[in-house]
């Protein structure tokens, strides 16, 4: 069937900010969909509130709206643009839910809009638990015994029947928010309450537990001719009970015979037909009983998903792209397979390698939360790796995670080994292993290694963990290889070449093998470490000693292997296991015979990507890397991307000329570099766009004679090394908070004493404020040094005087070593102390005086030129007592680059790439500073809901997962929209609860008065209430939680409060108000913890009360 000509204009809904469970994979799918439909000459309207996406680039869609993905804004855009159809299946759950509410509110009918890809009935059938259950029963598929409960009573009567444990899944939520496994009656009530609350329809599915069953996923596609194909099967290493997003998974499935696999395939086809997904992709999850093969259908997503992004990367079959083409009428046989060119998309990909996906967690940022995994997703990113053996694929994937792991063990992370040692000494290690294996955590896979090393049998490990014996056998095989290698090495065995080669084939890198041959020394170091306290001088010097030993042994290893060492070859991902020729250089490394890299004769540049998403390093850097690639292509230079993150646009084989899906480690990059250098003209490597991951490799790359393009690693070092930076600040005669460096607890305490508390402490060389903290007294500092910081001689802790109540600013600029282009000065809404990645900011600034702005510009230019920056630079400033302080200089792309690019309409990363490759700012016409006719607010999205018990107060450690942008004619309009987009509904009327520190009272008096005059009811705690009353406001007094009842918590629970404003004075009052903040979180009530944010929000509410809002298409902003 040909393309539909009755449609001309199609709207695509994006997925909004990055949150846990919905990350950059939807930028990948959205971008593919936009590109696919543009190829077909449709006019595309796009809405997404997330500025850090490629899909919202004005170059792709015709009409881009960065607006909140909520009904009023959607309707406004529809009214303006009048699309004939909406494609809701490429923007995750957000887009699906948005489309469904447009349908339910009659907006689709009103504007005569058709949903393409999935019809409302199909969406409901797949998403509504009860309807889904009925549909499955109809086709004879088994689902777990379950009940959809809308009340506690219904819930309780179900478990009276089935008993515990049960699994709770709230309807229509992302990544299983509010769900979980309930083991006992005590938890049951609170968990059900929470789940009911989380579900927009106040329904929770309570289902019989199939914990420990094998878990599989199939990615299915269907077209209008009712052709159905399976794109990929996925098997989870972690059995049922762990959310698939949090599981280590492999593709294709490994442990089912054809007979059993075909049963899943048949069921998948029956399910997609019964649910009625007419075109596009769906993801179906199954549980299989390992004892007898019984199959239970767990769920189905009638849309492109995280797993489909993974499946696309794993097979080379672009699901979202094909889904978009199918949605406008094509059938699979009419769409060519891009990779083979000669064959159509109507086939099932086969692969001749094994793919492993490993989740990336950030529990270290939420120390109050247990690390347990269950059916609610908690990981913030993932890495994928490809290998010709499971070992190769699995170890590469772990190595890609950026968690200081070189593979499955054999590295410098001693934490688990220390824990095991402690238990061994107490003779409690067996019970430790048993419980650590049976309760899934992010560390389980490494604990499993220790259990195997302790001779625990596979059967026993299986009995606790239910991890399939296939995986356990494969893992134990790795330990055998280690044993063989160590023995051969120690004995000077002449066959060491064979054993080394076998180790390489199973994914071992030289660093791991160096750790292996250092085993004895490391064992004794770990023994010593177990006896002394963490963070002490001795502790740190022992760590340095371990590194030294390993480095020595690495040299020894290199001497021995030099004679026979072979570089890896590169194989292609081609959808067809080499049955047809591949025209797409989508490559992975393997220790095999034949290399298919076929480097070209062209001029070329390698771009290093950012690796897995994590808090502090996410989609923003992928956005920059993609732009670097686009710029190279425009310059007719071949772009070569290296990255390990399957959720990204950068790892789409379509984005760059060549793609290496590889871990971003020195060994892997050097082999790619050597291969690409062997032919054509490799100009060098760009590493300023991928965040901290590639930057960390700068010096090692330099040592290995890798040509680095852009700002030189020496100059990068001058900005990042404290001593060097101090010199720079002195040389340029600038001001910075007094500071010091410490390499141990003792030094830290001394330094802080001198600087006077409060001080700001952080490790050097980190991104996202990892382990950054404001410290008020010595005990806190001591604890910090012992527990949070990863300190070493090479990586000391930085201690700075903390500038209380300072105003913070971020500047992004471009420099070509002659001129500097100030792209954006962003004023933070929160004051100093909140990590820049967590604070809202406004562009252009509104509260900064002209002389200070001039000083900022002059200083930025001075620093950029002094550091000989070639490309992007980001500087953070603070204004304290009207003086300008330098906080931090980052000579690289920052997190705000996409935001600024969208606000000023200039693609900064693209321009930076052009500068790096020799264009001057003048040539690029970047001379005049940008002017603004709108205000732009960046607001962040926080993941607290997923981390039980975590305080929601913001601090210097970054905790946000994503961001949104609000555009407005006034600062308040922009701020208001940013709040809406980030998920806070600011009500036009209602009541506000206020409890603030003394110094915040004065600046809030006037704004609260206006709010009160506009009809809002005010509630306040005694002190605040007295103050406001004295200013003539009418306030209702509320007592604090510990003062009796009914207190503020009761008010919140009884739905009396619409906005919460809580600004604690210090650590003490902060703890008092914890419960208020937690209940705000629980009931999704907008809450503000800074004066500035509150004032902007109030202004926004008042403005919105009086005026109608508008939506502003990007590109037409100027």
């Amino acid at each position: 069937m040909p393309r539909r000509d009755d449609l001309q204009k199609i709207m695509i809904i994006g997925s909004g900010p990055i949150v846990i469970g919905q990350a950059s994979e939807f930028d990948y799918s959205g971008t593919q969909a936009v590109k696919a439909l543009k190829e077909e000459n449709y006019e595309i309207v796009l809405i997404n509130s997330n500025p850090a996406t490629i899909m919202t680039d004005p170059d792709f869609a015709d009409h881009v709206y960065i607006e909140p993905i909520t009904l009023p804004y959607l309707e406004k855009i529809i009214e303006k643009e009048r699309p004939q159809a909406i494609l809701p299946t490429v923007g995750g759950q957000t887009a699906l839910n948005a489309a469904l509410s447009l349908y339910k509110e009659g907006i689709l009918d009103k504007y005569n809009i058709e949903l393409i890809g999935a019809k409302p009935e199909a969406i409901e059938k797949a998403e509504d638990r009860e309807l889904f259950k009925k549909a499955m029963e109809k086709i004879g598929a088994r689902v777990p015994l379950s009940v959809v409960a809308s009340s506690m009573k219904e819930a309780t009567s179900f478990i009276e029947e089935t008993g515990l444990p049960v699994i709770l899944r709230p309807s229509f939520t992302l990544g299983g928010t509010g769900g979980g496994i309930c083991y006992n009656l005590e938890d049951f009530e609170s968990m059900v309450t929470k789940a009911l609350m989380e579900s927009p329809t106040h329904q929770v599915l309570i289902e019989q537990s199939v914990l420990g069953w094998k878990e599989f996923e199939l990615e299915v596609m269907r077209d209008l001719a009712d052709n159905v194909v399976i794109i990929c099967s996925i098997e989870n290493l972690d059995p049922m009970g762990v959310h698939t997003g949090d599981s280590i998974t492999v593709a294709p499935q490994q442990t089912l015979s054809d007979k059993e696999y075909q049963k899943l395939r048949d069921l998948s086809i029956a399910i997609i037909r019964e649910i009625g997904v007419e075109t596009g992709g769906s993801n179906i999850q199954f549980a299989v009983n390992p004892e007898n093969g019984d199959i239970i259908v767990i769920e189905m997503n009638p849309r492109v998903s995280r797993s489909s992004a993974l499946a696309s990367k794993a097979t080379g079959f672009p699901i979202a792209r094909i889904a978009a083409k199918l949605s406008v009428g094509y059938t699979l046989d009419e769409i060519p397979n891009d990779i083979t060119k000669k064959t159509p998309a109507s086939f099932e990909p086969v692969i001749d390698y094994i793919v492993t996906k490993t989740p990336r967690f950030t529990f270290e940022k939420f120390p109050d939360t247990p690390r347990n995994l269950d059916t609610q997703m908690r990981s913030v990113g993932e890495a994928m790796a490809i290998g010709r053996t499971f070992g190769e694929s699995f170890q590469k994937a772990l190595r890609s995670l950026e968690i200081n792991r070189s593979g499955w063990g054999l590295d410098l992370d001693f934490s688990i080994r220390l824990e095991v040692l402690k238990h061994k000494k107490n003779k409690t290690h067996l019970s430790y292993f048993r419980s650590a294996l049976s309760v899934p955590t992010d560390e389980r896979i490494f604990i499993l290694r220790e259990a195997m090393l302790d001779n625990m049998s596979n059967d026993e490990i299986y009995s606790h963990s239910k991890i399939d014996l296939w995986f356990l056998t494969q893992l134990r095989q790795l330990l055998e290889i280690e044993e063989n290698f160590l023995e051969a090495f120690n004995k000077n065995d002449k066959n060491i070449d064979l054993i080394y080669s076998e180790a390489q084939k199973r994914g071992y890198c030289d660093f791991q093998l160096s750790c292996l041959i250092s085993s004895n020394e490391i064992d004794s170091i770990i023994e010593k470490l177990s006896q002394i306290s963490k963070g002490s001088k001795e502790y740190l010097s022992l760590n340095s000693e371990a590194i030294k030993i390993i480095r020595e042994n690495e040299k020894k290893l290199n001497e021995i292997t030099a004679k026979f060492k072979r570089n890896p070859v590169f194989k292609r991902v081609d959808t067809c296991a080499a049955e047809f020729e591949s025209f797409t250089p989508y490559l992975y490394s393997s220790y095999e015979e034949e290399c298919e890299a076929e480097p070209s004769d062209n001029e070329k540049v390698i771009i290093l990507g950012g690796g897995p998403n994590r808090i502090g390093q996410g989609i923003e850097f992928d956005y920059c890397c993609c732009h670097a690639s686009f710029a190279l292509q425009e310059l007719k230079i071949e772009s070569i991307m290296v990255n390990s993150n399957p959720e990204t646009v950068s790892t789409d084989y379509d984005t760059s000329d060549r793609l290496y899906f590889e871990p971003l480690t020195i060994e892997n990059i050097l082999s790619i570099y050597a291969k690409e250098k062997s032919k054509g003209k490799l100009k060098g490597v760009i590493l300023q766009f991928g965040g901290q991951t590639p930057l960390r490799l700068a010096r090692k790359l330099l040592e290995n004679n890798v040509e680095i393009l852009g700002t030189s690693p020496e100059d990068i070092h001058r900005a990042e090394d404290r001593d060097e930076f101090n010199k720079l600040v002195n040389k340029l005669n600038l001001r910075q908070p007094a500071g010091a460096m410490a390499k141990s607890v003792e030094e830290a305490l001394e330094a802080a004493e001198k600087l006077e508390y409060p001080v700001l402490v952080r490790p050097s060389y980190v991104l996202g404020g990892r382990a950054m903290m404001i410290v008020h007294f010595p005990e806190q500092l001591k604890k910090y040094m012992e527990e949070s910081a990863e300190v070493s001689d090479e990586r000391p802790v930085l201690i700075d005087k903390f500038l209380q109540h300072a105003k913070e600013l971020d500047v992004d600029a471009l420099c070509d070593q002659k001129d500097v282009f100030i792209a954006g000065i962003m004023e933070h809404i929160e004051e100093a102390g909140v990590h820049s990645g967590d604070s809202a900011c406004i562009l252009p600034p509104v509260n900064i005086s002209e002389p200070i702005l001039e000083e900022i510009k002059a200083t930025t230019k001075k620093i950029a030129l002094e550091l000989k920056v070639l490309g992007l630079i980001n500087i953070q400033y603070a204004i304290f007592n009207n003086d300008l302080y330098i906080i931090e200089v980052n000579p690289r792309a920052s997190r705000t680059v996409p935001f600024v690019s969208k606000a000023i309409g200039i693609p900064l990363a693209k321009r930076a790439t052009q500068v790096i490759l020799g264009k001057s700012l003048k040539e690029l016409n970047l001379v005049k500073e940008p002017s603004f006719s709108y205000y732009h607010v960046k607001e962040v999205v926080l993941p607290f809901k997923k981390f039980a018990g975590t305080d929601t107060i913001l601090g210097p450690e970054m905790k946000s997962t994503g961001e949104v942008m609000g555009i407005g004619k006034t600062p308040s309009e922009a701020f208001f929209k940013s709040q809406e987009a980030s998920g806070f509904r600011l009500p036009p009327a209602g009541s506000v609860f206020v409890s603030v520190s003394d110094e915040s009272k004065e600046p809030l008096a006037e704004p609260l008065k206006e709010l009160s005059n506009a009809g809002f009811t005010l509630y306040a705690t005694t002190g605040t209430a007295d103050f406001l009353t004295s200013r003539g406001l009418s306030v209702n007094k509320v007592i604090k939680v510990h003062e009796g009842r009914p207190n503020i918590a009761d008010l919140i629970k009884s739905d009396k409060i619409d906005i919460i404003l809580n600004i604690p004075t210090d650590v003490q009052t902060r703890n008092d108000a914890l419960e208020i903040r937690l209940s705000a979180l629980k009931f999704n009530i907008p809450y503000f913890t800074t004066v500035e944010a509150a004032v902007q929000a109030f202004k926004g509410i008042l403005e919105m009360q009086n005026n109608d809002f508008d939506v502003y298409p990007l590109g037409k902003i100027k």
Binding site: A225, N227, L256, D258, P290, T331, D333, T343, F347, E502
Partner: protein, 391 residues
């Protein structure tokens, strides 16, 4: 990998690969046509599929042996292929139905299992050069490899090519009829009410028999390449339809088989042919067959009705193909119904349905019985049953 022996895979064009022998190989030498199969599951079915007789099979999926071996999934009584070439062997299978290791089964069958080969490189070579003669050889430790390879290559060039080989003579229907009986017994089928058909055994897969019986069709197998005059207990009035099975080798060389089919065509009963049976039916109708470069071997092959958008994903395993033009020319009078199916990957013919005044013929190159592979086309068996329904 310790203590395992080395074996060489040597191709007729002189290319050779050093691999690790995962089982016993007392013959020290075996020769066949080398082909690759892209199925990611189903190694057991493939290994026991008679159509692979005289072939060396490379599995493109790199980890083989994962789910072991069982007594339920065999496609015949033994392994017909010459050797199995893989990347990585999984020695410790994990599956609730597994009854042992793949290598143990292959030991009993005296079929070598050679691992540690860059199978992707090998497949790319065969894709470029076409399937060819190859052998697995084991040499004594100190032999000069180059000499050995040269000797092996000359052996290979003296070995008969697949073209021109009739490999169907050993299939006499006995094992197939035994399977029919035991299946009827096992599932307590009321076979008396089934439609009885005459099936020509050229190396039938058990999956085909299962599908026929599941569709209430009771096949009685006869030795396909023995002239029907010599068949025991053959009474043509007894049968409501005819079936021609899959099998190994070059269809054009099975002359008696083609003669049998020519005779059966005169009986004007509904006919169903699969794979080799399809090719031979085409030959009997007057069409030609030819050798494909490296064939279709896998479970992901698309099949499309020529005029429609409908695509089925099928299991395929064939090195020869029917020439489309010659098939059309074979009919002097245009049939009343002529539907053709093609493989959109290379537009080769994958099947046809013909209805004219004399015959109703259903013939497919692919494997609707799967075993292993997708079940999309399994409805053909019920379609065959309907063809036999009196109008």
């Amino acid at each position: 990998m310790k203590n395992k022996e080395i074996a060489y895979l040597i191709l007729e064009d002189g290319k050779y690969y050093k691999g690790i022998l995962e089982n016993k190989f007392s013959k020290k030498e075996c020769i066949g046509e080398i082909i690759f199969n892209t199925s990611m599951t189903g190694y057991q079915e493939i290994i026991t599929d008679p159509s692979y007789k005289k072939q060396i099979v490379i599995f493109t999926y790199p980890s083989i042996g994962n789910y072991g071996f069982n007594s339920e999934d065999n496609e015949s009584d033994k392994a017909y292929l010459e050797a199995v070439i893989i990347k990585d062997y999984c020695e410790m299978p994990s599956n609730y139905r597994s009854e042992g290791k793949l290598s143990d089964f292959l030991d009993r069958q005296e079929v070598p299992l050679v691992s540690n080969i860059d199978t992707r490189a090998l497949v790319r070579h065969i894709r470029e050069k076409g399937s060819m003669r190859a052998g697995v050889f084991q040499f004594t430790e100190n032999d000069n490899i180059e000499n050995n390879v040269a000797q092996a290559v000359s052996k290979l060039s003296n070995h008969p090519k697949m073209e021109g080989q009739n490999l169907t003579n050993e299939f006499n229907g006995k094992s197939a009829n035994n399977f029919v009986r035991s299946y009827v017994q096992k599932y307590k089928l009321e076979a008396a009410n089934f439609k009885k058909i005459c099936a020509l055994d050229f190396g039938v897969k058990f999956s085909i028999i299962e599908h026929l019986l599941q569709n209430k069709i009771y096949p009685i197998f006869y030795p396909g390449s023995t002239p029907f005059e010599k068949w025991e207990n053959f009474n043509e009035n007894e049968f409501e339809g005819y079936f021609f099975s899959n099998g190994p080798g070059d269809p054009a060389s099975v002359e008696e088989g083609i003669q049998n089919i020519k005779y059966i065509l005169t009986l004007k009963k509904p006919i169903f042919g699969i794979c080799l049976g399809h090719q031979m039916l085409s030959l009997a109708l007057g069409a030609n067959t030819y050798k494909l470069k490296f064939g279709h071997h896998g479970g992901n092959q698309p099949v499309k009705k020529e005029s429609l958008s409908e695509v089925q994903i099928t299991a395929q395993n064939h090195g020869f193909s029917v020439d489309a033009d010659s098939l059309l020319k074979a009919f002097k009078d245009k049939p009343q119904v002529f539907e053709k199916e093609i493989n959109p990957n290379d537009n080769t013919i994958e099947g046809f349905y013909i209805e004219n005044s004399e015959n109703r013929l259903l013939s497919v190159q692919y494997h609707p019985e799967a075993g292993p592979g997708p079940h999309d086309a399994s409805k053909l068996f019920s379609y065959f049953s309907k063809m036999m329904q009196p109008d």
